[in-house]
């Protein structure tokens, strides 16, 4: 592989831009990942202590959002770390999907109910959501998006 994919394999001097804080970009990405993990940690711990009805990662997301508003922008490194995590979001669902093995018997026993909820329920939800948004967009008289 000529060159491609070598970006993260080791120190490349031309790649080591110096960030404003005097840290290398790699170290800044590490900071961003730490920020994301700490937000989740604080979220999980707060949920454990207070018994709030929200899952920890959601509280962590709110914390990070509040931090972004306080700061008034997304630091480039945080944006990059988040984009990296979200770019292959569907990969992250694969281990949970393989869990179908464990629940095979239960699912076979109630297959009609589960299949209906999965297929019809999903189609109904897609349709209701899209039609509601379309109707309210039209009612409020504004364009849906920049590309019409």
């Amino acid at each position: 592989m000529p060159g491609g994919g070598a970006r993260w394999s080791g120190p490349r001097h031309e790649g080591w831009r110096v960030a404003p804080e005097g840290l290398t970009t790699e170290a800044v990405v590490l900071e961003a990942l730490t920020l994301i993990l700490v937000c989740q940690l604080v979220g999980e711990v707060s949920v454990l202590i207070t018994g709030l009805p929200v899952p920890g990662p959601v509280l962590g997301m709110l914390l990070l959002l509040a931090w972004l508003f306080l700061r008034g922008g997304v630091p480039e490194s945080v944006g990059r770390a988040a984009d990296a995590l979200l770019a292959h979001l569907s990969l992250l669902f694969v281990p949970a999907g393989v869990g179908v093995l464990v629940h095979w018997e239960r699912m076979r026993g109630q297959w009609a109910a589960i299949a209906a909820a999965l297929v019809l329920g999903t189609l109904i939800t897609l349709a209701v959501t899209a039609l509601t948004m379309k109707a309210v967009t039209r009612l409020t008289g504004r364009g849906g998006s920049d590309n019409g």
Binding site: A96, V98, V102, A117, T122
Partner: protein, 244 residues
Amino acid sequence: MADDPFTTLWVYLAASPLLWLSLTLVCYLIALRIYRLGGESPWFNPVAIAVALLIGLLLLTDTPYQTYFDGAQFVHFLLGPATVSLAIPLYRERHRLQRLALPIVAALLAAVLTAASSAIGLGALLGASTETLISLAPKSVTAPVAMGISEKLGGLPSLTAVLVVSTGIVGAVLGTGLFRLLGIRDDAIKGFALGATSHGIGTARAFQVSPVMGAFAGLAMALSALVTALLLPPLLARFMASGG
């Protein structure tokens, strides 16, 4: 020690998380390639293909899911940080969010209520057990959030995870076709509906269609995770208390 070198190797690999972690990534990459070879048709959903490949491997090697998950948990773990990261697309889209506040709030409430009630209604109608119904209720939100809700209410978090992934795949496969049938052309609306219904897998699909659709799907996924986490547990607890 062991009789032949192949058995020795297998015993060593089977005990290490490295094997199934690597195979999860390899199967996903193969699935992505199949998806591209299939002309990026939604029917070649990468998650569905990767899951099918891995199940085949597990059955062939007679490996229990727990052994698989010991390796794959490192990928699974990243769902949490990915959920936290949703703050970034949310923040980036804050102006559009303000501009479209009313349609978004209306669509969001419609999505959250329809997703849970259609799942419970259809499931109950066709005789699913209470445990299955609770596990079905949060199936439209991203896995860590849905699993948390299911666990709190007495469902089976691991079953919920499977149902979440299935819902994601169904929406990603059928969504664009349904929108065409309904005459919905606005990418913002299509993206929002896909993200609100089919969370991360729907969002991944939306990004493949257009960046606007992807941004709105990410936004919808984050908002519906939040609103479902806040609304569904108290609503469902009350519903179960009244309905038995």
